[in-house]
C-alpha cells in the first residue's frame, strides 16, 4: 500500500469533503521536449527470485507486484515522486466524515480482450480478495483498508457480498469504511485492489494467469512466462493511454546470484541489476553514470527479548542502552555495507513521508561520548570484568548478517567486555524461533507497507502481531491509537521515537538504500524519488545514445 505524502497533507488541510479533481490528462512516459528516443525501446531487468503468483489478489512479493503494475491497472497510480495520479478512476470524492469514498471511472478503460473495465470488476476483485475461498495471503490488506464488514467476511461469518463496496453504476464505485481513513485513496494503488476479469477466472481457475489465458487491463500484456527463467510483457494496444507509452517490451530475468547478475549486466545482457554488498564504491568510481544509491523505506535492527522467557539482564534499561550506545553504526554503513546506507538512531527511516527524524539524545552524541556512557551504564547495572554480561544473538543465515553480527559482537567485547555468542539459523527456523520468543537478542528488518511512520511504529505496540520482542508501553499504545483517530500524527510519532530512544526495546542499526546499476539511457526516467519503488514500465523511456 502506497501513501502519497502530498495528497494526504492537502486532503487534511482542506479538512472538508475533498473533491479531488485531477483532470483527464494522465501521467505516462513524460518525455521532455527535445529528447531523442532510442530506436530500441525494450527494458530487461533482473529479479532475484521467481514470483509466487501474478494474480493481483494473491501476489505477496515485490517482484510479482512489479509485473502486476504493468499488466493491470487499479483505480489510482503513483507518479515518479510517489504522488497519486489517475488510473482507471479519473477522480474521487470522500464524504465529510471520510467514511465513504466514491470513485468515478473513465469510460475508455478496456480489458485486453476488448471488454470495458467497469466498477463491477472492482467489486468482484475486492470481494474475491476477502473471500476465505480465495485463501489470499494478502487478505489482511483488505482488513487494513477498514472496509465495512471485512472482518466478518474474512472469518466466513458473512458472505463476500456483504463487503462494503458496490457499483453504483458501471462507472461509479462506492466504498464504505468503518474508520475515517484520510489516506484511503493511497491504498488503492496496491495490487491487491486491482480489478480482475471474472469470466476468465471462472473459466480457467488457478491457471488463469498463464500467458495463453490471462485477460488484463494494464498497459502491457503477458507474452511469455517460463517459470524460474523469464517473463516477458509487451504493449497492450487496447490500453486507454497506449499513445503515451514508450517502452515496447519489458523482460524480467530470474538470476539468483548477485555476482552472476552483475557480470551479465556488465556484458550488456541486462539494463538493471542490484549491486552486491560492498561493491558500490568501486562501481561508482568505474561507472559513475550507472551506479546509483537512493533511500528505501526499510530498517535493520536487533530486538531484545523482553518477554518472560527473555534474559533477566535485558529487563534492565541500562543494559539495553549500553549495548545500543556501544555500536558504532558508521563502521557498519561505511566499512561493511558501503552502499550509502544511513546509520539509524530511530526505528522509522528519515525518508518516510511526513516524518521528521527527532533529535534523540544518543544520536546527537559523538561515538566517543556514547562509548563512555555505555561503559558507565553497564557498570551501574552491575556488569564488569568480574561479572561479564553474556548472551546469545541470532540472525538468519547470510554472509551479510554474519559480518554485521561479528562487527557488533567485537565492538561489545572491546568496549564493554560483553560476551555475545553468534548463532545463525535457516530463514524459516529463524522466524519460528523469533516468533516464539525462544531467543535473547535477534536480528530484525522491516520495510514499510506504505509510506507513513505507523507502518514502522505499529510494531512496538503491545498488540502488534509482529512485535517479537514483546515490548509493551502503554504510553506508546495510546499515542499510536491517537494518531490513527485524528490526533496530531507527526507529533505523536516523534514522541514515540523519543520514548524508544530512552527505553531502547530495539537497537536500530541502519536504514536501507537501494543500490543498483542501471543503463544510463533508461536511468533518467527511473523513479528514484519514489521511496516505495513502485515503478511502471509505461512511465519509462530509453533515450538515444
Amino acid at each position: 500500500m502506497k501513501f502519497s505524502p502530498i495528497l494526504r497533507t492537502s486532503a487534511l488541510a482542506l479538512g472538508v469533503a475533498s473533491l479531488a479533481l485531477m483532470g483527464t490528462s494522465a501521467y505516462a512516459a513524460k518525455v521532455p521536449a527535445g529528447t531523442v528516443l532510442a530506436e530500441d525501446q525494450t527494458f530487461t531487468y533482473r529479479d532475484l527470485d521467481e514470483f509466487s503468483s501474478l494474480d493481483p489478489q494473491i501476489i505477496e512479493d515485490v517482484s510479482g507486484s512489479d509485473i502486476a503494475r504493468d499488466l493491470f491497472e487499479g483505480l489510482l497510480n503513483q507518479d515518479a515522486d510517489g504522488n497519486l495520479v489517475p488510473g482507471v478512476a479519473e477522480r474521487w470524492e470522500a464524504s465529510d466524515d471520510k467514511m465513504t469514498y466514491t470513485f468515478y471511472l473513465r469510460d475508455n478503460a478496456k480489458w485486453s480482450n476488448g471488454d470495458p473495465v467497469t466498477a463491477g470488476d472492482f467489486v468482484y476483485a475486492w470481494r474475491r480478495a476477502a473471500d476465505p475461498e480465495t485463501a489470499s495471503p494478502y487478505s489482511w490488506y483488505m482488513d487494513l483498508m477498514s472496509i465495512e464488514n471485512v472482518a466478518d467476511v474474512l472469518s466466513g461469518d458473512k458472505e463476500p457480498t456483504a463487503l462494503g463496496v458496490r457499483a453504483v453504476d458501471d462507472l461509479t464505485l462506492e466504498v464504505k469504511l468503518t474508520t475515517p481513513l484520510s489516506y484511503f485513496p493511497q491504498m488503492v494503488t496496491h495490487t491487491t485492489t486491482f480489478p480482475t476479469h471474472q469470466a476468465t477466472i471462472e473459466k480457467y481457475g488457478d491457471e488463469w494467469t498463464k500467458p495463453e489465458n490471462i485477460v488484463s487491463n494494464g498497459a502491457y500484456t503477458l507474452a511469455e512466462h517460463v517459470p524460474n527463467e523469464r517473463s516477458v510483457r509487451v504493449r497492450n494496444p487496447l490500453y486507454w493511454n497506449d499513445a503515451e507509452t514508450v517502452i515496447e517490451k519489458t523482460t524480467a530475468l530470474i538470476i539468483n546470484d548477485d555476482d552472476a547478475a552483475l557480470t551479465r549486466y556488465l556484458a550488456g545482457e541486462l539494463d538493471r541489476t542490484e549491486i552486491p554488498a560492498g561493491q558500490y564504491p568501486r562501481l561508482k568510481e568505474e561507472y559513475p553514470d550507472q551506479a546509483v544509491s537512493f533511500p528505501r523505506l526499510c530498517s535493520y535492527y536487533y530486538t531484545f527479548n523482553l518477554s518472560d522467557s527473555g534474559p533477566e539482564a535485558f529487563k534492565d534499561v541500562r543494559v539495553r542502552q549500553a549495548l545500543s550506545y556501544a555500536i558504532d553504526r558508521s563502521v557498519i554503513t561505511d566499512n561493511v555495507l558501503q552502499g550509502g546506507q544511513f546509520p539509524a538512531f530511530t526505528f522509522t527511516p528519515g525518508a518516510t513521508a511526513g516524518f521528521e527524524v527527532p533529535d534523540v539524545p544518543f544520536g546527537q552524541m559523538t561515538q566517543a561520548e556514547r562509548d563512555a556512557k555505555a561503559v558507565e551504564l553497564l557498570a551501574e547495572a552491575g556488569y564488569g570484568p568480574d561479572n561479564p554480561l553474556k548472551f546469545d544473538m541470532i540472525y538468519n543465515t547470510s554472509e551479510g548478517h554474519k559480518q554485521i553480527a561479528t562487527v557488533m559482537s567485537q565492538m561489545w567485547k572491546q568496549k564493554l567486555g560483553v560476551e555475545a555468542t553468534l548463532g545463525n539459523m535457516e530463514w524459516k527456523v529463524f522466524l519460528e524461533t523469533r516468533s516464539q520468543q525462544d531467543f535473547e537478542l535477534a536480528r530484525g528488518a522491516w520495510c514499510g507497507d506504505y509510506n507513513e511512520a505507523s507502518t514502522f511504529l505499529d510494531l512496538v505496540t503491545t498488540d502488534s502481531g509482529y512485535n517479537d520482542g514483546k515490548y509493551s508501553n502503554s504510553e506508546i499504545d495510546a499515542l499510536m491509537e491517537d494518531a490513527k483517530t485524528g490526533g496530531d500524527a507527526t507529533a505523536n510519532y516523534t514522541k514515540v521515537e523519543q520514548i524508544m530512544a530512552d527505553e531502547m526495546p530495539i537497537i536500530p542499526i541502519y536504514h536501507y538504500t537501494r543500490v543498483m546499476m542501471m543503463d544510463p539511457n533508461l536511468l533518467g526516467s527511473w523513479p528514484v524519488n519514489n521511496v516505495e519503488q513502485n515503478w511502471y514500465s509505461r512511465d519509462l523511456y530509453r533515450v538515444a545514445e
Binding site: 494474480d55 472469518s155 466466513g156 488457478d206 552472476a260 545482457e269 535457516e426 524459516k428 502481531g465
Partner: protein, 307 residues
C-alpha cells in the same frame, strides 16, 4: 537374467515407499511451514489457507491422502508457493531443462574422460600421459562454483562469445557454459578411473597372450582391453548420470537455467512441501532405476555377478 531383474524391481518399490514416508515425516518435523512468513498472517487468514491445502489435518492423514493421490491419479498436488502451478507443472517445466544439460554433460564427460584416460594408459609415462593426468587433476580441484564464474567472465564479459546465463528453450549457445561447468569434474574422475583400470588390464596375462599371438595394438585395445576396462567406469557412471540429470544447484543458480536442482533447494527453504516431495520421489526413482541399470549392465559384462 529375468529373475535378476524381477528381484531388483521387488526391492525398488518398498525402497521408494520408505523414502516417501521418511521424507514426508522429516519435512513436517522441520520448524516453520509453507505459510510462515516475516509478516505472520492473522490467525483467521492462516486458518483459511491451511484448510484450503489440507494442512489442518493430522500429518498421517495428509501423508495417506498424498500417497493415495499419487497411486490413483498420479497427482502430486498443487504447489504451495506457486499458486497457478501443480507439482506436475513444476517438474514438467524444470526437469526437461535439467535432463538436457545433464545429458550433454554426460556425453561430454564420458567421451572426453574415456578418451583421455585410455590415451594416458596406452601411452603410459609419455608426455600425453602427464598432460592427461595434469588436466584431470586440474579439473578435479576446480569445483563448478569456481568454474562457472570463470567461464562467464571469460566467454561472456571478455570475449563476448556466449550468453552468461538463461535458457531460451535450450538453444546451443545457452548450453555450452553450463555443460562445461557441470561435466568437468565428472570428466576428470572418469579419465582417472579409465586410466588406472586400463593400465591394470593392459598388464594382465590375457593381454600379454594376445600380444604374443601377434595381434595388432588397435585390435588388442578395442577387442580385448576396452570391455574389462569399463567395469569400474560403469559402476561410477550410474550414480554420475543420475547426479547430472537430477540437476545441479550451482548450475541452476549461476546460469539461471531454471532446472530442477534449484527448485529442489528452494522448495525445501520455502517449505513448499508438495514440490519438495515430488522432486524427492523423482530423484529417488531415478537413483533406483539407474542403479538397477548399472547392475544389469554389470551382470551382462561380468557373468560372475549373475550368480
Amino acid at each position: 537374467m529375468l529373475n535378476f531383474i524381477i528381484r531388483r524391481l521387488g526391492i525398488a518399490i518398498p525402497t521408494l515407499l520408505i523414502l516417501v514416508v521418511f521424507s514426508f515425516s522429516l519435512m513436517h518435523l522441520a520448524p516453520g511451514g509453507p505459510f510462515t512468513s516475516e509478516r505472520p498472517l492473522p490467525p483467521q487468514v492462516l486458518a483459511n489457507i491451511e484448510a484450503k491445502y489440507g494442512l489442518d489435518q493430522p500429518v498421517y492423514v495428509q501423508m495417506g491422502n498424498y500417497i493415495w493421490g499419487i497411486v490413483t491419479e498420479f497427482d502430486f498436488g498443487p504447489s504451495f508457493r506457486f499458486k497457478d502451478r501443480t507439482v506436475n507443472d513444476v517438474i514438467a517445466q524444470g526437469f526437461p531443462v535439467t535432463l538436457t544439460y545433464g545429458f550433454w554433460s554426460f556425453v561430454v564427460a564420458v567421451s572426453v574422460g574415456v578418451s583421455l584416460g585410455a590415451a594416458a594408459a596406452i601411452y603410459h609415462n609419455s608426455w600425453l600421459d602427464y598432460l592427461a593426468v595434469g588436466i584431470s587433476i586440474g579439473a578435479q580441484v576446480l569445483p563448478n562454483f569456481v568454474m562457472a564464474p570463470i567461464l562467464v567472465l571469460t566467454f561472456t564479459l571478455w570475449l563476448g562469445l556466449l550468453p552468461g546465463g538463461g535458457w531460451n528453450g535450450g538453444q546451443w549457445q545457452y548450453l555450452v557454459l553450463p555443460v562445461i561447468a557441470l561435466s568437468t569434474s565428472y570428466m576428470a574422475s572418469i579419465a582417472r578411473i579409465t586410466r588406472s583400470s586400463m593400465l591394470e588390464v593392459l598388464n594382465s596375462n590375457f593381454i600379454r597372450t594376445a600380444k604374443a599371438k601377434g595381434l595388432s595394438n588397435k585390435r588388442i585395445i578395442v577387442k580385448h582391453a576396452l570391455k574389462p576396462t569399463m567395469l569400474p567406469v560403469i559402476s561410477y557412471l550410474g550414480p554420475a548420470f543420475v547426479g547430472m540429470i537430477t540437476g545441479s544447484v550451482v548450475i541452476d543458480m549461476y546460469f539461471s537455467t531454471g532446472g530442477i536442482g534449484q527448485m529442489f533447494v528452494n522448495s525445501a527453504l520455502s517449505r513448499d512441501y508438495s514440490v519438495m516431495m515430488g522432486i524427492t520421489i523423482l530423484m529417488g526413482s531415478l537413483v533406483i532405476i539407474f542403479n538397477m541399470i548399472v547392475d544389469i549392465l554389470y551382470a551382462w559384462i561380468d557373468p560372475k555377478i549373475r550368480l
